[in-house]
């Protein structure tokens, strides 16, 4: 991922989080918790993406382990 984009995305995340902090009193507690959790997850993924060779996404795991086996099975038939 481009470094400049990471900075821009980090700033956008901060601004959005600030807005969430301002607005959250008007929302239901359950809504507040879910939105907070999604922001937290996004932040953690952004931090993890700073480290190279860290594979987070489950789709990549499935693709790396399941797809080749399936391809091999199809080719054999």
């Amino acid at each position: 991922m481009d470094k400049l984009f990471q900075i821009v995305f980090g700033c956008a995340l901060l601004i959005m989080f600030f807005r969430y902090h301002q607005k959250k009193k008007r929302w239901d507690p359950s809504q507040r918790r879910i939105v907070g959790l999604i922001y937290l997850l996004t932040l953690l993924i952004l931090i993890a993406s700073l480290f190279p060779n860290v594979q987070l996404m489950p789709v990549n795991y499935i693709n790396d382990y399941f797809s080749p086996q399936m391809m091999m099975w199809v080719k054999q038939s």
Partner: protein
């Protein structure tokens, strides 16, 4: 929030059509052609049956739990914890569809239109566009413009390619093994499984039977149109070239050379395809919002939009590092994941819906038997169902005939296309019959929900 929306049967059919038609254009065709070779034109038959079965389960749910969406039904039936866990899996499934589409589309736009623009910027702009749509009603209305244009442009493309066709590229037809043909169908089933996320909008569709007929008609439009596009792809390029291209449909459009001044038709078509792709992603995003909203009591979706948008951007960027990864996933893994999630869930929901309908004494058909409408509806339903099954049977018989004599198998593709056309027309008549009956009896009330 969803209850206030106004969606009619035509919009349902076209939304389903828009969602399914664009789903396969990125990353599916070449994988199917690689496996099914010259017989890739039959790649829609089993998926059509699967999509109709999903629509039937949604129809049963609509009857058994009026006014509830799929997520609410799961909470109601399975309780807070088990229902929450199943809903979480469903949310992961919708997120997976979104990541595939957003990333796949970003690669597609970069390859076809904006080669110098960084992928991150394309993805960001696309997600921002997606976030601006917060209701299904607006999406359905936008789709009413672009879906017909998409279908018409597909037929127009087939006409403009007339000087490029070579039927010999299909020879020897039905020479692929039965397993190869079946696997081409299996790969497409994941794409047709997308019908399930219309379960998130169940309260919007007031009459379940009209909703079912609408979905079935949408599925048939896609089945017929994409089969024709695939047939054109095979007869213009042949299976070897088509299986090696990243975007075979784009390459197919680039083959149009009508005159010297009209040789970049792909630019026109991309301006139609892009909004169509966007609509598919928007519908999936709205389903995701509905699902997350159900965890918070299902009142308002708007507070989730910015946070989910950002989450989607970062996860899409980290998924599928290469364009080939999207193709490999869609072709070889996606259907397996979809079937593992959907089949047990659909079976469970169907059984629960039947039990619920029996418990409340709501098992009678909403069409009174013996009327002119119910007779015509029954005839159309049987004709379309038999046509779909007939496609499957024709391919099987054709394959058997190929072993005996190659001459008979030549006509199989034509018979399948004719049967698909019959199923398309009869599904339309089925939908219109329900609509007219509801109008006549005054049971169709848009914009209200009981």
């Amino acid at each position: 929030m969803l209850q206030r929306h106004v969606i009619n049967h035509r919009q349902v059919a076209w939304l389903v059509g828009g969602v399914l038609m664009t789903g396969g254009m990125i990353g599916l065709y070449q994988s199917v052609v690689r496996v099914s070779r010259v017989d890739a034109w039959s790649f829609q038959i089993i998926p059509i049956i699967y999509a109709v079965l999903i629509a039937y389960v949604l129809f049963e749910l609509g009857h058994a739990f009026p006014g509830k969406n799929l997520f609410e039904i799961l909470f109601l039936v399975c309780g807070k914890w088990v229902g929450g866990f199943i809903n979480l899996i469903l949310l992961l499934y919708i997120w997976m569809i979104l990541v595939i589409d957003v990333k796949g589309l970003s690669y597609f736009i970069q390859a076809s239109l904006l080669p110098q623009t960084p992928l991150e910027v394309i993805l960001l702009v696309f997600v921002l566009l997606m976030m601006s749509y917060s209701t299904l009603e607006v999406t359905a209305r936008v789709n009413e413009i672009f879906f017909p244009m998409n279908v018409i442009s597909s037929f127009l493309m087939l006409c403009l390619l007339i000087n490029e066709y070579d039927a010999q590229r299909l020879d020897p037809i039905l020479s692929t093994s039965l397993k190869g043909i079946f696997f081409g169908n299996y790969m497409t089933m994941g794409m047709f499984g997308d019908v399930l996320f219309f379960g998130a909008f169940l309260p919007v569709f007031i009459q379940p039977r009209l909703f079912f007929a609408g979905i079935k008609h949408g599925v048939m439009i896609v089945g017929f149109t994409t089969s024709l596009v695939m047939l054109a792809l095979l007869t213009v390029m042949g299976h070897i070239i088509a299986s090696r291209l990243n975007y075979p449909v784009l390459a197919l459009v680039q083959q149009i050379h009508v005159t010297d001044f009209l040789d970049r038709v792909d630019i026109f078509l991309l301006s139609i395809w892009f909004p169509s792709f966007a609509i598919k992603v928007i519908v999936a995003f709205l389903a995701l919002l509905t699902g997350i909203g159900s965890f918070a009591g299902g009142t308002q979706h708007k507070p989730f939009i910015p946070s989910l948008g950002l989450f989607l951007i970062i996860t899409a960027l980290l998924s599928f590092p290469q364009v080939e990864d999207v193709e490999r996933f869609v072709g070889y893994s996606f259907t397996s994941v979809v079937l593992i999630i959907q089949v047990p869930l659909l079976l469970f929901l169907w059984i629960r819906a039947r039990i619920e309908r029996r418990r409340t004494g709501n098992i009678k058909s909403d069409f009174p038997p013996g009327t002119r409408y119910s007779q015509f509806y029954g005839t159309m339903e049987w004709t379309s169902n038999l046509s779909i099954l007939g496609c499957l049977l024709t391919v099987l018989v054709g394959k058997w005939c190929f072993e005996q004599s190659m001459v008979v198998s030549q006509y199989v593709a034509v018979i399948v296309m004719v049967l698909l056309a019959i199923a398309l027309v009869t599904s339309y008549l089925q939908m219109q019959t329900v609509n007219r009956y509801l109008h006549k009896t005054g049971r169709k009330k848009f914009g209200t929900h009981t």
